[in-house]
Symmetry: none
Amino acid sequence: MLKRLPRVVREQQMLDAAVQVFSRRGFHAASMDEIAEVAGISKPMVYAYLGTKEELFLTCLRREATRLMEAVAAGVRPASRPDEQLWNGLRAFFAFVGAHRDGWRVLYRQARSEPHFAGELAGMRARIVEVVASLLEGACAQAEAAKPARPDDFLAMAYAYVGAAESLADWLADHEEEDPEHTATRMMNFVWVGADALLQGRVWRAQAE
Amino acid sequence: MLKRLPRVVREQQMLDAAVQVFSRRGFHAASMDEIAEVAGISKPMVYAYLGTKEELFLTCLRREATRLMEAVAAGVRPASRPDEQLWNGLRAFFAFVGAHRDGWRVLYRQARSEPHFAGELAGMRARIVEVVASLLEGACAQAEAAKPARPDDFLAMAYAYVGAAESLADWLADHEEEDPEHTATRMMNFVWVGADALLQGRVWRAQAE
Amino acid sequence: MLKRLPRVVREQQMLDAAVQVFSRRGFHAASMDEIAEVAGISKPMVYAYLGTKEELFLTCLRREATRLMEAVAAGVRPASRPDEQLWNGLRAFFAFVGAHRDGWRVLYRQARSEPHFAGELAGMRARIVEVVASLLEGACAQAEAAKPARPDDFLAMAYAYVGAAESLADWLADHEEEDPEHTATRMMNFVWVGADALLQGRVWRAQAE
Amino acid sequence: MLKRLPRVVREQQMLDAAVQVFSRRGFHAASMDEIAEVAGISKPMVYAYLGTKEELFLTCLRREATRLMEAVAAGVRPASRPDEQLWNGLRAFFAFVGAHRDGWRVLYRQARSEPHFAGELAGMRARIVEVVASLLEGACAQAEAAKPARPDDFLAMAYAYVGAAESLADWLADHEEEDPEHTATRMMNFVWVGADALLQGRVWRAQAE
DNA sequence: AATGAATGAGTATTCATTCAT
DNA sequence: AATGAATGAATACTCATTCAT
């Protein structure tokens, strides 16, 4: 029905369609029929090019994740100060989510809820968390006297920060009117001030009741 | 085949089974057959007592949410200082999640990924976020000179904190070995110190590049 | 829940409920649950008193049919002139249908559409058709010279008349505002005049084309 | 498993099967499984081409009704005398019913007993009744002096006639040995003579008792 | 290369019917 | 006598996946 297109182009069309449908319906409720229809192509083509529904979903997942990572990486100048790195990373991150809301929903919601894909996703997050952790560590090293607790505390903090960022991103994905730049500012603000204080040795302790 | 039990008892059995299965498989992949089997009862009973799969899921959702809220409320002494309130709330929260990992997965993952239930869930979160926001506000009022920015900044902060807590809770849910008390300490630590600094007027600003 | 009632009374309550529900939903769509509920009694009681769904339906069928027959029989004075008999019979018939619309629907529609009960019903109709046929024959004998065709022509006419009456009755069942007396007049009018003419030897014939 | 056939062909096969099964079992008792099996095709095809059970039934209903109407229309010469029109119409009608007994059972019995389809059917009947009524009116106009009562008497008569015809048709549908031509003659005979007499002003009246 | 035709396998849901109390 | 509890069996409907053309 459509004119012949080189395989790579077709594949991207299909992936676009798949991301859109997966985002709208969720993995299970999405039907290969609808995906094919949205892609403007017949179902057997989808199978021929991208395999099983699961494989298709995984491919979507990886494409979106890769794009996200690349977008963030492109926004950060590795040589700059840690807080600038973080700031630019967050800007890039929220900007990407704001521009690819469907993709984010697939990544953050669908992939997470399907036990089958959780592993794949966990790996991706782990890599991100590590990057953030090493950023924190770098900031700490740069700061004068900071001696923050045990070594995996950086990881824990990073984990919590990533969680907070994802949560804001998720909210952003559902609110067309929100300005990604604004979200980034908020996040940066509260993350960095908190982190800074922590890194300077301020600690909260439960007091004897 | 099994003994006759009064309705209330059976309903709880069924809900337990449902939470377990929903948690393991996700909403769509969970089958009413499996739920009935796990509950040790025949499918028609599930329908008779708890209705449609959707209704069943909603009932699970609400039961778990209610329990969670009650657990947290029971842990907090309303008259205590804000940081103590927060600390006790977080302890209760993580303790609950640690003790009801299945329930948490249902709440946090499955409910979120199904467009159909997202609304219900969003409402619950909103209530929590508001509580946290008012805690922050209370802390701010109690502190001497703090005059933090705009009024909805409390909300934004609360939102991010809740996101971070959920993220840690989610991680907790998947790691049997993690000690909830420890998770709570980490969370409290970095939240409170950050918040405290923020509330005292420290702000991070992007610098001219 | 209800107070103890003698069996016969209970049975009538149940049959009333059953007729109502069967009429509203049709045989298949009617559920024993609803029947029990409408009867204000528990399901096992229905089974205990009236047996299977099929048996229950048959019992309804027979009760309604019997009542109808009796009502008609009560309306007719056997010694009167044929046309008067017919007239009174029709009046009684339409009056009954008007007063028992539910029962009529069960008899005429549901019973007919269920292959399983068609036989039972066919028998009842056969008896009615015969009565009408003998009425016609009586009228013919009474009339002076009439010599209508072959013997089973009375039956055929009767059959058609009964069909027409049923059709009008069916229409009556669905129109609350229609006056049964009026329906009876119409029917009588066109039946009798037609019959009269036929019985006097007037015949329509296809003409050579 | 079976040969690939173009959609249009398969659809007709399915409709044939559906009419047969609906006729034999009734709407509710008919199972999509059986219909598919009789059609020699798998169930999903039935759903793909003809939709829901209800939609399938409606499609059957309309196909049979359309065919019936067309058969009758084809039999009647519009320019001929009213009685000839009626006669030819009846011949065509009974011939059709005799040749499509299954279809008639679906139309007349099943559709009528399902409250859900009664409306659709009522509309069709209404159109037929009107045609007959206008035939009667035409005959009346043609006849010399006739001045039959009120205007809707034509409708009432037509209604009763149609009921009678349906009743005979229904009987015909269940009796393989009956000759449709013969049925038509009987019907015509008693209808026309009766109508003729009526139209000439003969009226039956209840006498003072 | 591309697709309409086709299906096996599964899932939610309902209902007549029966026990245990 | 009366009922809440319980189920076996069925049925409509869907969907990922594959062929034949």
